[in-house]
Symmetry: C2
Subunit: 200 residues, 2 copies
């Protein structure tokens, strides 16, 4: 077993949040739409978040019916029959929160603290000046500000989200080849690349 000093442990416990954005995202035609929340996106990403010691996982949707749906699912898995049937799932599902906008998620993450988190967007398409994973990892480990990583549903985050972000991670896989991973797989790989080995 590795023994860490207090200082090293602090560095090894970065504060990272993730958000799965259902609005504003693109559809197949490139129009801005709101996508439907799916049960498995909540579960799979919550489990990846818990495994890599992510602080919170925000489901971003502006639609009342979708907010209600997520709330019902969370109640089932945090306090209801789901929690009794699969107790380890509680620890993952407790990380999940619902926010109506990306800004609301940012606000909740700061929880009254001054400043803003570092906002990192992700996408499957090539963009100018992508942030390399090694560099992102170094920023996360050496920065004291919280980091929030945004993932898009549908055909990816709308331009306005890329514009408000501080950085955009390089695409996973080959952006010149077949590059259509599920968002669940993209979340898992991104957290592994950025946080694996960083948790106590």
């Amino acid at each position: 077993m590795t023994v860490h000093t207090t200082h090293e442990v602090a560095n090894l416990n970065p504060e990272v949040h993730i958000a799965l954005v259902h609005y504003p995202v693109l559809n197949k035609e490139g129009q801005i739409v709101s996508t439907a929340v799916t049960n498995l996106d909540i579960h799979d990403n919550a489990r990846s978040a818990r495994a890599f010691d992510v602080t919170s996982y925000h489901i971003v949707t502006p639609l009342d019916a979708q907010v209600d749906l997520v709330t019902r699912i969370l109640t089932h898995w945090c306090d209801g029959f789901g929690a009794r049937r699969v107790p380890n799932r509680v620890e993952a599902m407790r990380l999940v929160q619902v926010s109506r906008t990306v800004e609301e998620a940012v606000h909740t993450i700061m929880a009254g603290r001054p400043g803003r988190p570092l906002v990192i967007a992700t996408g499957a398409r090539k963009r100018e000046n992508p942030l390399a994973y090694e560099r992102a990892r170094s920023i996360i480990l050496n920065n004291s500000a919280p980091v929030v990583i945004l993932f898009g549903t549908g055909y990816g985050l709308a331009n306005e989200i890329f514009e408000m972000a501080d950085a955009v991670l390089a695409p996973i896989g080959n952006p010149d080849g077949w590059n259509h991973l599920s968002v669940r797989s993209a979340v898992a790989i991104t957290l592994d690349r950025l946080l694996s080995g960083c948790i106590a």
Copy 2:
């Protein structure tokens, strides 16, 4: 753009297959059971397989009704309405095959060639002499034999599968901590660790 010589390109195109095992696997009580195939396991893992240039993805189930279900799903997405609606999904779903046993998958993978593939099992629990990812990556890149990586559903692969495997990969995440990733996330992370940057 990087220019590869023919020899380098050959090394950069390893033959890797994956199999998602529904029998024999464990249930919560540690009994050997057959789990149900899920639609999203087929899709998400097929997409990860295609993104990382995996040669084939075997759904292993001995149950007639499950074999029929997978076959119907594949027809829809390779030749039916699904193929017309999401054309890029065809390339992923064409990698999927159904095998009734792990041995049948191995036989299909060899396709009449002599010898056997290198069989690598995976799991969330610690086992003796785990294969490190760097070592596995080196084996895959430098070996001429095909490699097949086995993933368990339910509560993981049964012991008999670990015993027939040539090696067992180290668990992803912290085996002493909360380590309950979905199998879809485990497949994505494993392929990223072993094959990222290895494809042309």
